[in-house]
Each structure stands twice: as C-alpha cells, then as structure tokens.
Amino acid sequence: MPGPLDAVDPRAAVVEDRLAGVGRIVAVTGSKGGIGKSVVSASLALAWADAGRRVGLLDLDFTSPCSHVILGADEGFPGEGFGVDPKDTAGVSLMSVAFFAPEVAVPLRGDEVAGAFLELLAVTRWGELDLLVLDLPPGLGDIALDVVRLVPRVEFLLLSTSSRVVLGSVERALRLLTGLRVPVLGLAENLQQGNDQGVSRLGASFGVPFLGALPYDAGLEDALGDPGRLRATAFFAAVRRLAGRLSG
C-alpha cells in the first residue's frame, strides 16, 4: 500500500554500519558494583593496544564514567567530522560522556539511558578496529539489556571476586546471559587475595571458561591516570595475560 509510513527512529538503522569496521566487541560486566569492571576494561584495552591491536573503549557508565580518569585522557570535546571521533588516549580510541559533561552529575532514567546510548552508537565513528571494549555500569539493567539488543556480535567477559556476595550476583548474570544464548567468553576473578577456587568452580558449573585471576594490587590506586605507571603494576601484568588468553 503506498502511503506514509510514520515515526521511525533513524538511529537504529545505522548502528550496524557504524560498527562494521570493528572486529570483536567485548562487553565487560559482572553485575555487582565496584569489583573492578572499569579498571579491567581500560587495562584490557591498553594491553591490546600495546600488543599492536587497534582498540576502542566505550564507557557506558553514563552516571559515573571513569575510563577517562583511569587512562588519563585529555579534557574537552572530541573531534567532529563525518560523526564524532573517539579520543586517542595512550593508543586506545576512547569515547565517554565525560567528554561532553565533565564534572556535572548526569541523572538519567531508563529510557533516557537508552536514548543516550543509541545516540552515541549512531554518531561515533570508530573506523577500523580489531577490538572494541564496552565498560558496563553495574547491574543487568537498561544498558546491559540494550547492549544485548543493539550491539551485533557482542561477547561478554564476566568479572567476579571470591566473595559470596559477588558470586551469587555473578551466578544470576551467568544464568541470564547463557539463557539468552549470548556468547560468554569466560569468567575472570579480580581482587584476588587468597587461593579460593570459588570463581573457577562457578565457571565450571556453567561450562564457562575460567580465564584466570587478577591480584589485589595496593599500588594500583597511585598508578591510575598514568598509563606508564599502570603498565608497571602487578595488576596490569595479569591483565596482559588475560588479554593474550582472550585474543589468542
């Protein structure tokens, strides 16, 4: 029937296009807050860049972005060309809402989070990348669900600690993701202190590979914001091994 078709959101039509030059897309989650998703995401991206891969990092924590702090990115708006260009930070192509709204709180409700995410996907020009890392906010809310819905070929890397409080939450995340048939690359342990096998056992019970442990590193805090010092930490050495295992 000829006739007007109405109300189409144009942004969804170009998400695949915008990500067409990107090889693999790895979303880092763990559902629980404060377990190191952001430091692991940024360090993974940096380790891959150091290994000569073309890497992007998208900070999807709109209310408390911190990738730019971890990698020590320059302030100011990103460049604009055909779309918006990520900022080259220590060899990583970084995109964050912090570039647009530094130092102000960004209180967003669910549908607004989804709107901002779709806008970023539609206008960011990643170019050719081997890998794009997505740093997810805590929880399995709007952003995690939109990543599953909108991002083609996405694979999840789950992070946990050996605390029972965290393990229970990660178990629920694993159940959800495997139930949705979303590819899960594996499970890594962060903030390791003892020699607990809880995280590897959890992975085994879901048939998900255990990718190793990242130690608790008291020197990490002082290295944040300085890629040179970050690279010298024991934490980063372990992330480098994780990066090798994931891309090998």
Binding site: L5, D9, V14, F100, A101, V106
Partner: protein, 144 residues
C-alpha cells in the same frame, strides 16, 4: 558537523522502511528536527538532499521536508510543563554543545524552572525523527 552522520542515519532508516513496505521509489521523506539538539539545519538539509541520496537508487528524485519541532519538557516532580523559553538563560556554550551531541545531557544542564529538579521528561522536540516516508509501490509487490 556530526549533522552528516544524523542525515546518513535518516537516509538509511528511510530506505529500510520503504523496502520493508515494498516501495520501489521514495517520493518524500519528512524529518522532524527537535529544538533540543540544535541541529544546524542548512548543513543537515544539504547532506540530505545534495550529498547522500546518490548512495541509494530508491531515493532518486526524493524530496526532503525538514520540520522544526519545539522542545517540551514535563517535570516529574512538580508536574510543570515548560519549554525552552521558560528556562533562565540560554545555557553556556559547553552545555549547548553537549546537548547537541547527546540531547539526554539536558538532565545535567537544565533544571525545572519551578522546582529546580533535573527529573523532567522530554516529551517533544528531543532530536531527529522521521515522521513520514512516502513512495510508490513496486509493480511486482504482490496483490492487494
């Protein structure tokens, strides 16, 4: 300058919608541009009508109608409906630029003029939407 990326999105979404509806040619696309995003209309229209249509035969001779849509907010706390003109001042250049890239950032920079809350809904005039795609059916598009 990222108007070009938005125009490209409009173009691809219009073509996809038209193909899904079995059209063989698009005659016109109506695009609503929300006040909040402050699109540079001249650049946007130029991308739509001069640069991009070459990419898809469906768009040959298509007409683009760009309509401005005023922004309307509704405060979830005190129930006030308000518009751009009800706000104090224009906002700093950086705030305007931020909302140009990501309209949702209005919640970081704008406040309800009555109660001061950032918890308002953008009920109209957020960004770019396609309000209508008109065209002609493919001759081979099944009986109806």
């Amino acid at each position: 300058m990222h108007e070009f990326a938005l125009a490209d999105a409009v173009m691809k979404a219009a073509c996809r919608a038209a193909r899904d509806a079995g059209m063989s040619r698009i005659t016109s696309v109506t695009v609503r541009v929300g006040e909040l995003q402050q699109i540079e209309t001249a650049l946007f229209e130029f991308s739509l009508s001069e640069v991009l249509p070459a990419g898809d035969p469906l768009l040959e001779g298509a007409r683009f109608v760009v309509e401005a849509e005023p922004v309307r907010f509704h405060c979830r706390v005190c129930d006030l409906g308000f518009g751009r003109g009800d706000l104090e001042g224009e906002g700093t250049d950086d705030a305007l630029e931020a909302m140009h890239f990501i309209p949702e950032l209005c919640h970081a920079f704008l406040r309800c003029p009555r109660c001061g809350s950032p918890d308002f809904a953008v009920v109209a005039g957020r960004g770019v939407t396609i309000s209508a795609v008109e065209g002609e059916d493919s001759p081979d598009a099944g009986p109806t």
